[in-house]
């Protein structure tokens, strides 16, 4: 089995922005996601509905798999049981992915 290369915060942010590009292709003009750490994905000011979030998470998992050979599950029990969702903003999501990857090392 090949060993996954190390992944840093910038790598994750890049993958999230690539995912935003892909998701934006499916969203109407008034719901486009901005590529910024402060962008709200869900909740107040968020542009994604529940199904949009599902698609977003799946695409991001796939990008982590394709680029870094990482088999991670982003929507695990830790994520869904938190008071503050790790999917609320791009920054929250970046922190959360880093946390998961550190936990799998």
């Amino acid at each position: 089995m090949e060993v996954a290369p190390p992944v840093n915060r910038q790598d994750i942010l890049r993958l999230i922005y690539m995912t935003i590009d892909e998701i934006n292709e499916t969203l109407p003009e008034d719901r486009q996601l901005e590529k910024s750490v402060g962008t709200h994905l869900i909740g107040r000011g968020g542009k994604l509905d529940s199904l949009g979030l599902v698609n977003f998470i799946i695409l991001l998992e796939q990008r982590l798999a394709d680029e870094f050979r990482l088999a991670v599950t982003l929507a695990d029990e830790k994520a869904v049981s938190r008071v503050n969702s790790p999917f609320r903003t791009v920054e929250n999501l970046t922190d959360y992915v880093l946390e998961i990857l550190e936990g799998t090392e």
Partner: protein, 233 residues
């Protein structure tokens, strides 16, 4: 080989799974199979993983490697299953847990991971395995029938959830087939079960393959969330 589709078959080391793997390898599919123990199937286009279908990290690693090698999954056949013929009052929790893990969690996990790959190509076929024991409320098969009832429910719900990506999810419910799964069941019990069918004979592997072939046809893209029992139940 060009234009070959990619199919995953769980429980492909022996029995129906093995038969289906050999069949679809001859019909323009590359097949990725899995079972707890190694397979001796050595045909071009076949790859085998040794894993427990309910082991999430192992299953995710398998799908990661499939994604890297093929970049797609066209068909998933959730064939892996375990049965237990026993009165419910004599069924240990450990046995019940084993059935829940393999039949329900294994099916769910493979559906989930396959759909993640299928949604990228916006098309896919998933075929689950149920049993007539569920429809007949068969005594002596309480946990087995219950786990397969869960598989039927999963099939119907996932059919709705995955429809947006043109992924169909259906299930086939064979009558008794002469495999390891039924080897320990007394003959009179099997005969009594066959007597409850409209067509009174055992299922043969091609009977099951025929239903799966129907689900996989391009023209079956409007067929989802369906359970087809064999034998006239």
């Amino acid at each position: 080989m060009a234009n070959r589709q990619v199919m995953i078959i769980t429980g492909s080391r022996k029995g129906i799974g093995r038969f289906l793997a050999e069949h679809y390898l001859q019909n323009n599919y590359d097949v990725v199979g899995c079972s707890r123990t190694p397979s001796d199937l050595q045909l071009e286009g076949y790859q085998h993983y040794c894993l427990d279908v309910a082991d999430e990290p192992a299953v995710k690693q398998m799908f990661l490697e499939i994604s890297q090698k093929y970049g797609r999954v066209d068909v998933l056949i959730n064939n892996a299953g375990v049965a237990s013929m026993n009165h419910s009052l004599l069924t240990p929790v450990s046995t019940a847990q084993k059935l829940v893990n393999t039949n329900i969690l294994g099916t769910f996990l493979f559906c989930r991971e396959a759909a993640k790959l299928m949604q990228r190509q916006r098309v896919g076929r998933i075929v689950n395995f149920t049993t007539v024991a569920t429809a007949l409320n068969l005594e002596g098969e309480a946990i087995y029938a219950a786990t397969k009832a869960a598989v039927e429910s999963l099939t119907r719900v996932l059919a709705r959830e995955f429809a947006q990506w043109n992924i169909t999810v259906n299930a086939v419910g064979p009558t008794p087939v002469k495999t390891d799964l039924t080897r320990s069941v007394p003959q009179e019990k099997l005969d009594a079960l066959v007597d409850r069918q409209a067509i009174r004979r055992f299922s043969e592997f091609p009977d099951i393959q025929n239903v799966i072939d129907f689900f996989l046809r391009p023209e079956s893209d409007f067929v989802t969330g369906q359970i087809i029992y064999l034998g006239g139940i």
